[in-house]
Symmetry: D2
Subunit: 217 residues, 4 copies
């Protein structure tokens, strides 16, 4: 009897002034769940450029997932953000959790300038909208550890048959937004529901829908 | 055996392009609940200047509440907003649900320029923060039907012994924010929890805490 | 030969982390100018509750203006904000320039809860729009020294025949916004032009236009 | 006597509901100016995918610039935005000025996923900050005609010796922001000054400074 295909779902450790990271708070609740005949492996990545790279390589080697979805905190965003693209640059506005603060260094020296997500982002968008969850396609995952991991996942997937990858940013949790004037937030239940929905779509659909979701700038 | 004291909790009908109003979606779930020895009477008000006034007068006469809390939708706000003050003006950016669009008319001709909330707004703020819910003190309830009802509740309470009143704005629900780019939202469960918390504080505490919650502008 | 009527135009000293205050940078350029047969007296007020009150009383006594316009910095606002109302509360988010940080104290104990501007705010709004300058009617001047001075000006004017008063908030200058991520700003030339326009309207017109400029919340 | 090297500086025609485009309003004022021994050729591009491509190819062929700087309107941004990267996708939120609305099509089929700016963006950033002008490095130029032209300029430059290219987004002008609630704006004088500054830096400096300007998400 064959093992079910695996989804590797990653969250991050807290960084900056935060004591929790909403990505891990949500992602951990899906560990070992079955979604569309796939088994979810939730994995915690350190918010650190080099350590997260090593950790990602190890867990991909071990889990051999067919789908990788990285999840990260986007403090200040008001909705779920499905990332369209990851770029080959590290430009850290603050030190990562090991104190490293690279400026304008490549994620993968010699790698392509960018990778587009290979998950069906427009179908994921439509499925979340149908669930009544606020969501957008984002054209930047920033230049910190989130973009770095998004790029590395796509770089990995580009070299393996049958592996697809993508990244999603999520807002603060309400408990984080309490002490941050004006910061929007999203309930953890809604984030968990959103992850379940997008993973189901990603597991079932390879070719994306043709749906407009552009931005003017 | 005496009747328990009553809390009159009001929500509004949808307005503008909306088909639901989050205030009523949350408020209705608390109807008939017991909170700190008070019985909650949830009541739906029309989003219309004159009709809401008549309806409010009738229900106050009938229920004889000791506490009035008006709740309204503040589309675009990212957190619970406890209103500090209501002003004696109607200046409608869009027509109300009966088509009326007053410009710079008094809510109560000859009434004071403003009323301050007589609920313990700082204690309510602190209690919500302790619950992990994003909240702020707001210094304007706008100039539409929400401010109008807030002013009328406080005007009513100013004339009766033992009646206190206040108003709270709440964000869009996630299902409303879906089709509104950038609009923040809050889960209905969190709004309901927030209402329960602030009503408990309002029922138990008359003198407010001395806590800073100012804004520079 | 009689003296021309005077306009008292006030700006504030810098506060918080700022080394300039855009209100004074703009206001000072209009000192001694003639606008619609009035002479402008520009005066600098300290960003401090008690000192600004004393200073305002002294300068009003000395200048005997027929029009008072207070101007203050509203860091974070993107446009000129003509204030509709000032409320009788001090609730300081940060200490003023003398270290005082009042919480929920009255500006004038026993004074009315609020005063509405007695300048023709809608006509001023329309005149600025016609000039191509972004402007809004605001329903809160906050709870710091700006609102305090706005309230005091209106309190003063309420007690004198032929004296009218109002308040306008202005954005950061570009040079301040440089180091503040996302903060909008407005060029000093545009602010000075705006002040000239609104003072001309205020000098010429006593009864306001009936123009809608409301907000929903 | 040899001709001076040329800078090709482009602006766009108005689109959407706008009757002006701030990019062209500013860019046109620099036509034929000398900046750091270069001659500026200002050129108007249509806000249309195919027409702008043809127009760009023709003018590059004619002018043979050593520097290309595209400028475009970013309605809603509060500051000058120096773009770091352009991506190989067209995803139009609204129809372009010829009615075309491509969804998820490549700018250059078979081209790289993205190009990084080859102008010294960090040195340009620092020079604008020193001028007191609010500026940021942006990691997305959107997916409409601006990103399309940014990509095409960089694609062109990638194939020619000694040609460098980049893109800058600018806010609305104040006269546009008048009727757009909350929209920030920037004075035209400041935009023109900013363009002069960045072109001087671009003309004089090939290797960029190493300055952090990252974003977390």
């Amino acid at each position: 009897m064959s093992k079910p295909p695996r989804i590797l779902l990653t969250g991050f450790t807290p960084f900056g002034n935060e004591v929790i990271n909403p990505s891990w708070e949500a992602v951990r609740l899906l560990h070992d769940q079955r979604i569309a005949d796939h088994r979810v492996v939730a994995h915690l990545l350190p918010t650190a450029f080099e350590d997260s790279r090593r950790e990602l390589e190890a867990v991909v080697h071990e889990v051999e997932p067919s789908i990788l979805l990285g999840v990260g905190q986007a403090g200040g965003r008001s909705r779920l953000s499905i990332e369209r693209v990851a770029i080959n640059v590290q430009d850290a506005r603050l030190p990562d959790n090991t104190g490293a603060q690279p400026i304008d260094e490549a994620v993968v020296p010699g790698g392509p300038a960018a990778y587009f997500s290979t998950l069906p982002i427009k179908a994921m968008l439509a499925a979340l909208q149908a669930e009544g969850l606020p969501v957008e396609i984002s054209n930047t995952a920033g230049t910190f550890v989130c973009n770095h991991i998004a790029y590395l996942m796509l770089h990995e997937a580009a070299q393996r048959q049958g592996m697809r990858a993508g990244f999603m940013h999520i807002p603060y949790l309400p408990e984080q937004a309490v002490r941050l004037p004006q910061a929007p937030s999203m309930a953890k239940d809604d984030v968990v529901r959103a992850l379940t929905v997008v993973l189901r779509v990603a597991a079932r659909q390879v070719i994306d829908d043709r749906l407009g979701a552009g931005t003017l700038d």
